[in-house]
């Protein structure tokens, strides 16, 4: 008991440990590395595909890529917020479908409705669905996986009951709304700008606000979070509210982009979203990762989808490629974690 005491040398007030900075750098570098890794994979993929076919980076194709990533990226941001709290939201595809159909119906019933109102209505509908999820999880203390698996079917069922086989076509929606789906500012699609705005706001809130950091704390150790006086139930509720609202927003954008909406809009999208988030470096058991990574993951998955045909890979292999990517991402995270643990043990504790 006493032998190690001799070696433990205390630092006086103000005396900074020389090892202090290296720990900070390490963590900072790791954060950068994780998102940088996805970015590198993306650049590599685009580069190789471009080398095979120069038209891959034509203005039109880049625009299509960005447009294609938009909806998945917005959903991934919402999903990342939920997964960071050690939960999961499987109902986002159904919420998107419901919101997209509601947007269509809104325009059919009230042809003069202003576009911002439609966006608000869709987002609010999504938020309401998210509130149902969050409320059930917080009040009934049932795992999110089960609750949102249930609401996945419930929301989709509502959508089907409401649509009764109906389909809303581009002709039913105001041209200005549909133009929003394809309009560009300086060559960048408006929808992609919306996604970037969502991403920046969410990323800033999560990094610089108490409420955001508390989400990480909850995911890192829910019991400890409770002992720290964090209102765990309320924070998780708001995470699901945010995820639902973003899925609602994505539903409106879906309607604007595709113009045709039936009850199957966004069917099965939830697994793509979870895949994007995991590929983007958000730990599936919560506590770490960022919305930037999740959005990059969404862009990467979308890009793979359009790059593989260009590279001559048959569509049959595309899903396998996505799967391999998920496994690679998890393997990378594991390797990084092991390396970091070794370094943290080795150098930066007190002593000597």
């Amino acid at each position: 008991m006493t032998a190690p005491d001799v070696r433990r040398r205390a630092v006086g007030p103000g005396g900074r440990a020389p090892t202090g900075e290296s720990g900070a750098r390490l963590v900072h570098r790791l954060f950068v590395v994780r998102e940088l890794g996805i970015l590198l994979a993306l650049v590599l993929l685009v580069g190789v595909t471009f080398a095979v076919n120069q038209r891959f980076l034509s203005a039109q194709n880049v625009k299509d890529l960005l447009l294609g990533s938009t909806i998945l990226a917005i959903l991934a941001v919402g999903q990342a917020i939920v997964i960071i709290t050690r939960n999961v939201d499987l109902s986002v595809g159904s919420i998107l479908g419901l919101s997209a159909f509601a947007t269509g119906v809104l325009f059919v019933d009230n042809p003069g409705v202003p576009i911002p109102v439609a966006i608000l209505v869709g987002t609010a509908l999504g938020a309401a669905c998210g509130a149902v999820n969050g409320g059930l999880i917080a009040a009934a203390r049932v795992p999110a996986l089960v609750v949102t698996l249930g609401t996945l079917y419930v929301f989709r069922g509502l959508d089907h009951t409401w649509a009764t086989g109906r389909q809303i076509n581009a002709a039913d929606m105001p041209p200005a709304f549909l133009r929003m789906g394809t309009a560009t500012v300086a060559g960048v699609p408006v929808l992609a700008l919306v996604a970037v705005a969502v991403l920046v706001v969410a990323g800033y809130l999560l990094k610089h606000y108490r409420s955001g950091r508390e989400l990480y704390a909850i995911g890192s150790d829910p019991d400890a979070a409770r002992l720290s006086g964090i209102a765990v139930g309320r924070r998780v509720f708001f995470a699901f509210l945010a995820s639902g609202a973003l899925a609602g927003l994505a539903g409106v954008l879906y309607a604007a982009r595709f113009g045709t909406v039936d009850a199957n809009a966004g069917l099965g999208l939830e697994l793509n979203v979870v895949a994007a988030v995991v590929v983007g470096g958000v730990a599936i058991f919560g506590g770490s990762g960022s919305v930037y990574g999740a959005a990059l993951g969404a862009v990467l998955l979308t890009t793979i989808g359009s790059a593989l045909p260009v590279l001559g890979v048959t569509p049959f292999w595309q899903r396998a490629a996505v799967g391999a990517l998920i496994l690679a991402a998890i393997g990378l995270d594991r390797a990084l974690a092991v390396r970091m643990a070794r370094r943290l043990r080795g150098g930066t504790t007190r002593g000597t």
């Binding site: 440990a17 900070a24 610089h208 409770r226 002992l227 720290s228 006086g229």
Partner: protein
Amino acid sequence: MLPVLALTGVDKSFGAVAALRDARLELFTGEAHALVGENGAGKSTLVKILAGVHGPDAGQVLLDGAPVVFGNPGDARAAGIAVIYQEPTLFPDLSVAENIFMGRQPRRGLGRIDAAAMRARTSDLFARLGVRIDPDRPARGLSIADQQLVEIAKALSFDARVLVMDEPTAALSGVEVERLFAVARALRDDGAAILFISHRFDEVFALCQRVTVMRDGRWIVTDEIGNLTVEGVVRTMVGRDVSALFPKLATTPAEVRLEVEGLTRRGFFQDVSFTVRGGEIVALAGLVGAGRSEVARAIFGVDRYDAGEVRVDGRRLRPGDPPTAIAAGVALVPEDRRQQGLVMELSIERNATLPRRWALSRFGLLFGGSERRSAAQWARRLQVKAARNTDAVSTLSGGNQQKVVLAKWLSTAPRVLVIDEPTRGIDVGTKAEVHRLLSQLAAEGVAVLMVSSELPEVLGMADRVLVMHEGRLVADIPRGEADEENVMLAATGQREAAA
């Protein structure tokens, strides 16, 4: 003078187990107050009531003389109560600075977190404690001592009016304890009230002015430290009648069944050696964290060990290999039966026959009939009270669950039974039945090693009492000489007898 914080007549039960009955406590500003008691005396439950984790079933919490209700830990915090828990409660993914200030991060314009201020204040706190931990590193990978220091820094960061420390020094070295005490004394002199829970009496006497003793969830006495001696406190902690509930049958110990020699697992226990004869019940006593359960698990092979060996009937067991231990006739009834001893969703008969599923099967197939017959026989012998043997184990009471665990291992006809906390959370009536079973087994020639924190059980059941203190075997007391005082003194490191 009004106490800053007081508990009056507090009761708290968890299911059928009463953790606190009429608990009392008064903390005044400028005092360090020690709370002592045996394992299970209700100290940690009391802390959790002060911290707002649990609400009392009856009685009141008084803050400055006015009753308050803490709905959650946040309320207690807001009232100026900081708690250092026995187990560190850190967020492994977040930085040390964020761990300290979670929920209370310093803010700058627009409500944003001021990361620079947070880091600077963390460095200041660590400087006060005289430790060097990088505020920016994640909490993951910190040693237990460092985690405890982060917890202490967290509690200090509150400028709390009441600082509660639940065994904060268990993982700390002497120098760190000195620093912690210097800081605690400074806080006390600034007018904070400190509640200090420890099994180390030297620390209690070095830091505190008053001592409250608890036993069996009840308040026993509060007194000035000057009026007390270590021996007196220990006597008050354990002073109760050894009930006549424990019918240990007289046996003549046979040949040595279990030999443990020089068993060491770094960081848990060192150089533990003892023997258990057939027909003998040997108790392994000591405080929580002394390494008793770890030794039990190592003997069975669930945990590895770094040095030493375990022999059963003279044959060496392979370390870290439960199947060979089972084959050699060792059975382990673990401490936490819900998590480690039973498959809660399965039926009584499935659970009871789990270790013998191969013996009961024919051609590799398990037929219901043999399972049913065997389970029924054991349920009868142990008097398991259940509607049907096909009911899920989760529907049974704690005592009956424990009987199923016993049935499970007894049906393998063990030669050595290692049983960890045989009657924790079990009502008095069933306790006696469990004791009767253990005694009967010993009479049949089984070597029983019983880890127990309940002194009456240890003294009533054991032919010999081994006492562990901080990972070492410090005493080996025969039945005739064992009493509550000498066991407790050895367990708290006040007495070193020949092991």
